[in-house]
């Protein structure tokens, strides 16, 4: 939590100090982006699938109330106990009360970004409930007392040697062992024992089908199934936006999810949960936690279409160079930067600015969220609501004033160039972030405006210079590709 005092720029700067790590982190994520590209390009109807998914989610968001009630009724018919939680606190209290009623003080949890958002682990541990994350990446992060840095690849920022050291410290593996297979086998042995002995298992939810009251959990490790199948009490937590109308829609989303996430055609396990086994209790918690507020923001409601594939993180050059933890929010990267300000605008005011607005995120998004446009719009909201730093407000106001008048612009432009030429140390110093690692542009040539005043006017309309050749191209008014 104390990390939140530093903003994205400062946390990113720390991450970048280890340039070798950045190069390796950037390369690993780019490799996944390339695998995603290959998978996407192997399906001729890829763009049509994205469009279909986006439209299904539009329908869901416009009819969320009805689908949620339909889902609740069908899930109850299937024998699932359905709970509603308005916020993180309510969600955590519901989980605790379910465990307490059965006198359970140990929980195994598969990957669930929602419970990370709710800080469920801390809540339960404070109340004497032991929680173990069973997703290998999340398990490693939990051992190291760090939140996940990526929603699909929770410890992508860690080298295998670092993971070996964590295992040595916490699990007693031999010092210096960093072979991934060896470490994974060791973790598996450890987790097998956890699965067998835990009476309660919690999973996340990827898709909940209104029509049937069932839900689907996607993993590559089978850890959700392992926990759920051996449990006496199964709890699943889902954000209310995870609803899809019909079972047939899974065919659209399951094809998109893994391809976008890792380039796999489908996750190894796509587990459908519908009704409790004999003697088992099944609980499902529908969590709002800011989602209906976001639904009420016309410019940002489409962010709720997100299926948590992580493709926007893998493609984002800022994310690749700065690491997920620099976003100081459970959901990092571009999608995190448009979700987080809804939860706490002051705390996350920096995130929409942690982007060059390059737009790659919107292009890889399997549900076609206009992420970079929403980043732009959040910037406007954050400034209007007064969360921009004061120095920035002053600077931009001065810029707006300068540029609003041709005379002041010409004067200041000239002054700027004069400063660059004659007293470069005035700008070439450590207080100028540009100059830290970049030379200033050359201001010695005079402006184009000045050149044009001397040389340009005789070249105007109709008076073509002698060097000009006659064009052999027709001058038409075609507007292509607009």
């Amino acid at each position: 939590m104390e990390k939140a005092l530093k903003d994205h720029a400062a946390l990113a700067e720390e991450f970048i100090k280890d340039e070798e790590r950045v190069d390796w982190h950037d390369g690993a994520l780019w490799w996944i982006r390339q695998k995603r590209d290959i998978a996407a390009k192997n399906i001729p109807e890829w763009e049509a699938l994205r469009e279909a998914a986006s439209q299904i989610k539009s329908n869901v968001l416009s009819n969320l109330h009805d689908y949620l009630l339909e889902f609740e009724a069908n899930a109850q018919k299937n024998g699932i106990t359905v709970h509603w939680a308005a916020d993180a606190e309510e969600h955590n209290a519901i989980v605790y009360s379910i465990l307490k009623a059965k006198d359970i003080n140990q929980l195994v949890k598969s990957k669930s970004m929602l419970t990370e958002e709710c800080h469920l682990n801390e809540y339960l541990i404070e109340r004497g409930v032991d929680v173990i994350n069973s997703d290998l990446g999340e398990y490693i992060q939990q051992l190291d007392n760090e939140p996940p840095s990526h929603i699909v690849l929770p410890c992508i920022h860690k080298r295998k040697e670092e993971i070996g050291a964590i295992f040595h410290e916490h699990l007693g593996t031999e010092k210096g062992v960093s072979d991934p297979t060896t470490l994974t086998r060791f973790a598996r042995r450890h987790l097998r024992n956890v699965f067998v002995t835990r009476r309660a298992a919690l999973t996340g939810v990827n898709f909940a089908v209104a029509e049937t009251g069932e839900y689907v959990v996607c993993t590559n490790e089978g850890n959700a199934d392992m926990g759920a199948h051996l449990s006496e009490v199964q709890i699943s937590s889902m954000g209310i936006e995870k609803i899809i109308p019909k079972k047939k829609h899974l065919g659209v989303f399951l094809r998109l999810l893994a391809r976008s996430a890792t380039g796999q055609p489908i996750t190894i396990y796509s587990s459908h949960f519908k009704k409790p086994r004999q003697g088992q209790e099944m609980h499902l918690i529908l969590v709002d936690y800011g989602r209906s507020r976001q639904l009420g923001r016309p410019d940002f409601r489409d962010s709720l279409k997100c299926i948590r594939c992580g493709a926007c993180m893998n493609t984002c050059p800022v994310y690749r160079k700065s690491g997920g933890l620099s976003y100081h929010n459970t959901i990092s990267g571009p999608i995190g930067a448009i979700l987080a300000p809804n939860l706490d605008m002051r705390k996350h005011a920096d995130l929409p600015f942690a982007s060059t607005l390059c737009g790659s995120c919107s292009n890889v998004c399997p549900v076609k969220i206009n992420i970079h446009e929403q980043l732009y719009k959040w910037r406007q909201v954050i400034v209007q609501e007064g969360y921009a730093a004061n120095t920035k407000v002053m600077g931009i106001k001065a810029m707006a004033w300068t540029l609003s008048s041709p005379a002041s612009y010409a004067r200041i432009g000239k002054a700027g160039r004069w400063v660059l030429n004659n007293i470069p140390f005035a700008v070439n110093n450590k207080f100028n972030p540009w100059y830290k690692q970049r030379e200033m542009p050359d201001g010695s040539k005079g402006s184009f405006g000045e050149w044009y005043a001397k040389n340009g006017r005789n070249e105007e309309e109709g008076k073509q210079p002698e060097t000009t050749q006659t064009p052999d191209v027709p001058l038409t008014d075609k507007h292509h590709e607009r």
Binding site: A9, A12, E13, E19, D26, A40, K41, P44, W46, E47, T315, P317, V318, S322, F353, A354, T356, C358, S360, N363, R379, Q380, V383, A388, K392, I396, A400, L403, S404, S405, P406, Y409, G413, R417, P433, W434, K436, Q437, R438, E439, P441, G443, F448, G449, W451, Y452, G456, E459, E460, E461, T468, T470, P471, D472, V473, L475, K478, H479, E481, R482
Partner: protein, 245 residues
């Protein structure tokens, strides 16, 4: 046909040679070009920083300067995209609509309006094309690597008309350079790291020049190149297309 030459503020101040090349190139192709001297800026630096509400004066001034032309052409994809997406006027919305639709980036003007299919240009060097994000994903000057769609590239088509020019393939053909407007100082560490990696892609693949439709990208990359005393040079595409023997 008369074209209003829109020279973005920082190009006017720091890259007059790119503006001159744009003017000369258009004139060579028989286009009447006028540079309205009272222009300043499109307003993008304010808007992208969250201050779109302070851009009214810039918008009004832009309209005052450019309303009278058949087309408005600029050697900057980023500024053109800003006009296309964000130029508004409460007083004269129809005029703003018209200006938005007739404002073109240089490469797309040469390709889509002038339909040129040959150029008398000569530039005997190895060149890497840095795709400006606003040109690529905003103005769709080329196909985007993320999409499953047919490839095309307006800048490559033009560069292929230049005698002697050899285009080098890059490992990441459309990764962002990290300029990003005020991002380049607000997120200095990330911005520079992104820029260094773009530069290295060009170096690794043997380019002598990095070119682009956006000087903002090039200003940032040039700053990094010069700090590292690199032999690799940054040059706006207008200067290449305007080069002759």
């Amino acid at each position: 046909m008369t074209v209003g030459l829109f020279i973005p503020c920082y190009v006017n101040q720091f890259y007059p040679q790119a503006a001159i090349a744009t003017l000369q190139l258009l004139q060579k192709l028989g286009v009447g070009v006028v540079y309205p001297p009272k222009q300043t800026c499109c307003g993008q630096p304010m808007a992208n920083s969250g201050f779109e509400h302070l851009t009214k004066e810039c918008n009004d001034l832009f309209m005052e300067n450019f309303a009278r032309f058949d087309y408005i052409v600029a050697p900057s994809a980023s500024c053109v995209l800003h006009i296309r997406d964000h130029l508004h006027s409460a007083d004269d919305p129809a005029q703003a609509d018209s200006i938005r639709s007739k404002t073109y980036e240089l490469v797309e003007f040469l390709t889509d309006v002038l339909n040129i299919d040959n150029l008398k240009a000569w530039f005997p060097h190895k060149v890497g094309l840095h795709q400006s994000c606003h040109g690529l994903r905003g103005l769709h000057l080329a196909q985007m690597s993320e999409l499953n769609a047919l490839p095309f590239s307006k800048p490559v088509r033009l560069l292929n008309m230049v005698d002697g020019l050899e285009l080098v393939d890059l490992d990441r053909p459309d990764d962002c350079c990290g300029f990003g407007g005020t991002f380049c100082v607000a997120e200095e560490a990330v911005s520079v790291k992104m820029g260094k990696d773009r530069v290295q892609d060009h170096q690794r693949n043997g380019a002598d020049y990095i070119t682009s439709v956006d000087l903002s990208c090039l200003m940032h990359l040039e700053g990094i190149l010069q700090r590292n005393r690199s032999g690799l040079k940054a040059l706006h595409i207008a200067e290449i297309l305007n080069s002759t023997r």
